[in-house]
Subunit: 240 residues, 2 copies
């Protein structure tokens, strides 16, 4: 018996639809929209639309403004920095635990996702690529033994996904990103926690740099020293 459950609810579908609309630029950040019109456009009632927006509001993607509408929030560099700081703090140690506890099933599953990522990179299919990327990280995090940690990181990805796909020179980056997962997988295969941690740290840091660069190019405001420190100093300052 399979669980269906997740895909069924109209609310869930709207959440997905709004995410994609923001990604595709159909809904622009900073702009004001109405749940009324959105419901009409989707040919459903206002209730599931509202509930979906409430969920997205809690995730920080939109904000309700009483009697005016809802606003798609802008992502500023500060936010990206914060999200990736969190990801470093959480994913790096989790990868270490995963490498320590790894079994062959995990290694095989990770390999499969990585292969899939490469295939999607060839095809230039951003969306599918991201799905497999995400799945790769999820597998790793779950293997770390903390399901809630995996859930938190998954939520964090939602907030950054809002940015992505500047659709420019993307396919080359896809290959680079896929390549960065290889050392992680190798370390897990070798059951080497330290190597897994540093490989993942490099990967996440690089991803952050790409996104931050993309945003600072647009906005023209460079990163503050304090922001840079969050990304450069993921763990306890370690050195005394």
């Amino acid at each position: 018996m399979r669980e269906i459950q997740g895909a069924s609810s109209l609310t869930d579908q709207v959440v997905q639809a709004v995410r994609e609309a923001v990604l595709s630029g159909e809904l622009k950040a900073g702009e004001l929209y109405s749940a009324y019109q959105l419901a009409e456009r989707l040919k459903i009632s206002r209730t599931p639309v509202r509930e979906a927006l409430l969920r997205l509001a809690e995730a920080g993607m939109v904000r309700f403004e009483r009697n005016r509408g809802f606003r798609v929030l802008k992502r500023d560099p500060q936010e990206i920095v914060e999200v990736f700081h969190l990801r470093l703090l959480l994913e790096v140690p989790a990868a270490g635990l995963a490498a320590r506890n790894a079994d062959d099933t995990l290694v095989a599953a990770l390999r499969q996702e990585l292969d899939a990522m490469r295939a999607m990179a060839d095809g230039g299919d951003d969306a599918r690529f991201m799905r497999h990327d995400r799945q790769f990280h999820q597998l790793l995090l779950l293997a770390g033994g903390n399901a809630r940690l995996a859930a938190v990181v998954d939520g964090l990805r939602d907030t950054t996904t809002t940015l992505g796909t500047s659709t420019v020179g993307r396919s080359r980056n896809l290959w680079e990103i896929a390549a960065e997962h290889e050392p992680v997988l190798a370390a897990v295969t070798a059951r080497d926690p330290d190597a897994a941690m540093s490989a993942l740290r490099a990967h996440i840091t690089h991803t952050a740099d790409l996104l931050v660069g993309q945003l600072t190019d647009e906005a023209g405001t460079p990163l503050s020293p304090a922001q840079a420190e969050l990304l450069g100093r993921p763990g306890p300052p370690a050195g005394r």
Copy 2:
């Protein structure tokens, strides 16, 4: 001009009410309830009740069962371990950053919260004590420079708060808990990141032990080695 905004919504009030009801034992974990009846009991319509429950469901406090009702979820040791593992990963480094960046305003604010905690411990006022405890941690985390990190931790506390207040021999523990904050404050005052981190680590670990002990006493199932490892090995294995 002051922002009011937050406290107004009926939905928010219901969220608060349900949290308190779970705490007070009015709503029992594992039991099945209906949004219908809850709305009737609160003398409001079903919509805000439903929206509040949806928010709590996302936070992992309740779960909807289609056409049956919603269930208040049981907290098992595994979950507590996961939450505190996360708190160690997030709060400890944040405390280090806070100590590094601390200014006198922060120190004064922390001192104030700690004093308030002691006063509430004297009065045996659990609820208020927890508010100041929470505020102490929030101040520290925000000083770490990552607002989102602070928000995530705040959410984590929500899920554990569901447990608390076994109301037994509590007042003595309140004093102990307050005392554990003293070294943290001292380290921040001295701008000593390492000391702040180890003090906070000790505090969080101790809190986790108390809660886990409370649960294992009830359930009789001791912690698995894997679970213990999550709490004992907060950061990157460090050595090496």
